[in-house]
Each structure stands twice: as structure tokens, then as C-alpha cells.
Amino acid sequence: MSWQTKLKEWEDAGVIDAGTKARVFEYEGKLKREKKRFPLLVVIGLIFVALAIMSFIAANWQAIPALVKIGLVLLLMWAFYVLADVSERRKIWSPVAFRILGIISFAGAIVVTVQTFHMSQQGTFLAWAVLLMALGHYFLWRHEAYTIVAFIAGINLLTTAGQSVTWLEWALLLAVGLAWFYFSQKPLPQLFSWIFLFGSGVLLWSLVDGYDGVLWAIWTLFALVPLLFLIKDEEARKKFVPIYLFVGGAASVVYLAVRGGTEDWTVDMSYYESAALLLVALAIGYVGYRWFKPLLWLVPLGLFGFALYDDTAIALAAIIEIVAFAFLIYSERKDHSLVMPFVYFIAVQMAIYFVYAWDRLDMSLFFLIGAIIVFLLAGIAWWLRRRREGATT
């Protein structure tokens, strides 16, 4: 229900008078005029329309001479930048949207060039070019919309680089990701660059010869902890920590599901790696203890190296179950938001249930008991919420 309808309802019920209602309307109207937010969906829509046009033109342009074709797309690109300039000077339309169209035209020019010369589009050149240009736009104009383009190009780059990444390219990925993270110092670009760095970190493990282990997700997560110290603003730092917990939690459920669900576990593991992981986890624990308390929740991930040896996956399930329960209780006691702890708790229960019950139960019984568990968990959530509401009123 919109707040306008709600206000009307309150006025009718005599909760507020007509004057209050009018004042709320006036205030909200002013607020809306002040923060003219950039329509994200419009940007994304524009991106797709432009891409579709580019691809359509490129497909039909075989008859036109190569250089003319490329020149026309470049002309289009320049037109967008001129329009951006005009719109900035006259304060009409949106210069940002035009510049984004400019970047997309640039990508289009490369695609047309590549197609004209019959080159395969599997290389990372296009993604690199768009990523660097979009980041350049961001650092020149400091508008977050450019980082959305950079992020899309970055993800594209990581997926195209994939298994064929070289050491040089990996070093470049890392350098760009770090620069992006350090020099932006804003939540959204930092979140994007964090995800980009995590993806780059994961690529490293296909690069290292002879590494066939499975602990790379935890290693990568741990390796990113020092990034927190690159965030200059204290408050922003604290707000960034939950990302680590989120990824750590998701990873733990995936490990449990995979380990519990795999019958013949042939993964290369070593006690040295497991021990090293535990040591690093303890170091992360120290960092958490000194500076970021919530990071202490990542320490149990250090036990995964050893827990994965267990074929029944019971040790793994036990660790995760205890952590999920403790996290839930802790968040409840500390009056923190319960959304993340509860979603994690439910995910863990479901993973454990699937791992241990799927093969042992008849299909109908499996779903019956599953439904009862979900019902019970929902009941607990309801009870917790009621208790909390009861405490505040």
C-alpha cells in the first residue's frame, strides 16, 4: 500500500487531521524534487537497446566497406559525447546516460571491427577495453552509473578469461581491482570491485599448476580480509564486514552440500594445506578480535580443511549447524537484524536435511518431513519476531 493511501486512511479514521496530511504531502513532494534519483532501470534498458541496435546493424552491414562501417559507429560514439556535453552545459537531459551510450558505442565499434576482419569474439580484449574506459569515466566524473557498466564488463571479463587466464593477465586483473577498490571509497563501487576481486582471486587457482584442492573459495575470502583496511571511513568499514559473512556463509553451505552429496571423494587434499588454512583462520580471528568483531564468525571456516576428510560429512555438518545456531542466538541477543542469520539458519537446515535424508527416505516422506521442518522454522521465526516486538512496545 502506498503512503498516500495510508495517509488518506488515517485521515478518515481521525488519526491525523487534514493539516498534518497536507504537510506530509508537501514535505514528501519537496523531498522527491530534491533527490532526483538516477533511474537505474533506464540505464540498463538503454544498454540493452543500444546493444541490440549495434548487433542488428553489424549483421546487415556486410555490403558497406570496412572502414566506412567502423567510421560510422565511431561517429555515433562522438555524437553521444557531444550530446552529453550539450546536456551538461544546458542542464537538460542526462549527460551520464549519453556518456554511457558513448561507451556502448565504443564497444560496438570494437565488435564491428572484429566482425569486419572475421575475428573470433572469444578474446578478452573487448571486455578489458570497456572495463578500463568505464572506470576511467567513473574516476573522471565520479558518477556511480559508470561503475555499473564497469561491473558488467568486469564480470564479462572474468568469465571470458576463465580457464585460459595467464599470469600477466591475472596480475592486471588484481591491479585494476585494487585500484578500483582503493580509489573509489564509496559503498557501491567498492562492493562491485570486491566482487570483481573475489572473482579474480578464484581464477588464480586454475592458474596455479598442480593445485587440485577445493579450499580455494575460503582462501580467496580470507585473502580479501586486508581490503577492509583500505576503506578510509570507519563507519563504511563496519558496514562492509557483512559481505564477508554473507560469502562465508554461502560457501559453507555449498561445501556441506557438495561434500555430503559426493559418494566418491577423489579430491586432492593435504594436511599441510588444512593446517595452513587453520592458522590463517586464527590470524583472521585475531584481526576480528582487534578490529572487526563480526569477522570472528569466519574462524570456523578454518576447520573445513580437516572436516572435509570425513566421508560422512558429519563433522562439517556439526560445525556449520553450531555456528548457524550460535549466530542466530547471538544476533537475537544483540538486537541485530535477524534476516541474514535466519536465512542462513534455514539454508543450513535444508542442506543438512537434503544431504542426510534424500537417499534414506521415500520420496513422499522426504517432502512431508521437509515441509514440517520448514513449518517449524517459520514458527520459530514468528516467535522470535513476536518476542522482539513485545520487547520494544
Partner: protein
């Protein structure tokens, strides 16, 4: 000039890419490759024919996986492999060797006029004229139905 810095850089980048392609023809040798289509086109990226090359078969002693090749003209006028190795060497082109054939990514797709892709795919016997640079880059220039 800050407002036009990026269009300028971006134009230069595209210019360099174009120049790199032309340089292949300026400094490279031309070859004719015997080709055959093997996969339907992808309409999202524009219409092209996926090509494989029946003459590009390596001799013994080469392992499947990444290979590096150079070309020479065979007795019948079509290009064959001159030298092939699993290790990179000067002037070589990177490719993949699997399923009896060497596949060179730079020769794999050829963009054709809208609506003509099917014709090439049905013709089966095709030939590609391509320039190969001394540094291994390849620029396909012409796709035609083979007349033998």
C-alpha cells in the same frame, strides 16, 4: 578538454585495432585454406559460418591440447601445416588440437552477408583466403565455394 578525453582515447584504441589488422596483410603471406562448415551460426552475434580445416592435421608426436603452428603451401595449392609444436616458437599461431584436427580460433568464424550463411553451410566444400603475419596473427579475407 576533459569532456572529450575519452572519445579521443576510444577512437585511438579502435584505430590501433584496425591498424593491427591491416598490418597483417602488409607484412604477411597469403594462403588458401580448404575449409568446411561445422556448426550453425549464432544470430545474436551476427551471421557467420563456423569453419574447420580438413588439411590441418598434425603428424605424429604432437599431443592433444594447445599447439603452435606455421603454414606452408601444399602441392595442390592449399595451405598445410609447416611446423607444429606443443611449445610456443617464433612466428607461430596458437591453436587447439583435438579430434584429429588443429583448430585455429582466428580462422574459425567467418562473418557473411545476412541470409547467405545457410548457402555456405549447405555447399560444404569451401575455401578461405587468409593473410598470415610473421608474428602469427591471421586475417581471413575471402570465403568462397570451392571448385575442384
Amino acid at each position: 578538454m576533459k569532456r572529450y578525453l575519452f572519445p579521443l582515447i576510444q577512437t585511438l584504441i579502435v584505430g590501433l585495432v584496425v591498424l593491427a589488422f591491416f598490418a597483417i596483410s602488409w607484412f604477411g603471406d597469403s594462403y588458401r585454406f580448404r575449409a568446411e562448415p561445422y556448426d550453425p551460426f549464432n544470430p545474436v552475434y551476427g551471421e557467420f559460418v563456423m569453419l574447420q580445416y580438413p588439411d590441418l592435421t598434425p603428424g605424429a608426436g604432437v599431443e592433444e591440447g594447445t599447439v603452435y603452428v606455421t603454414f606452408k603451401e601444399g602441392d595442390d595449392g592449399y595451405a598445410v601445416i609447416d611446423r607444429i609444436s606443443n611449445e610456443r616458437f617464433l612466428g607461430s599461431t596458437k591453436g587447439d588440437y583435438y579430434d584429429k584436427l588443429v583448430r585455429v580460433p582466428q580462422l574459425e568464424q567467418y562473418y557473411v552477408e545476412q541470409g547467405t550463411g545457410k548457402g555456405y553451410e549447405d555447399a560444404k566444400d569451401l575455401e578461405v583466403k587468409a593473410d598470415v603475419a610473421p608474428w602469427g596473427a591471421i586475417r581471413p579475407r575471402h570465403l568462397d565455394v570451392r571448385s575442384e
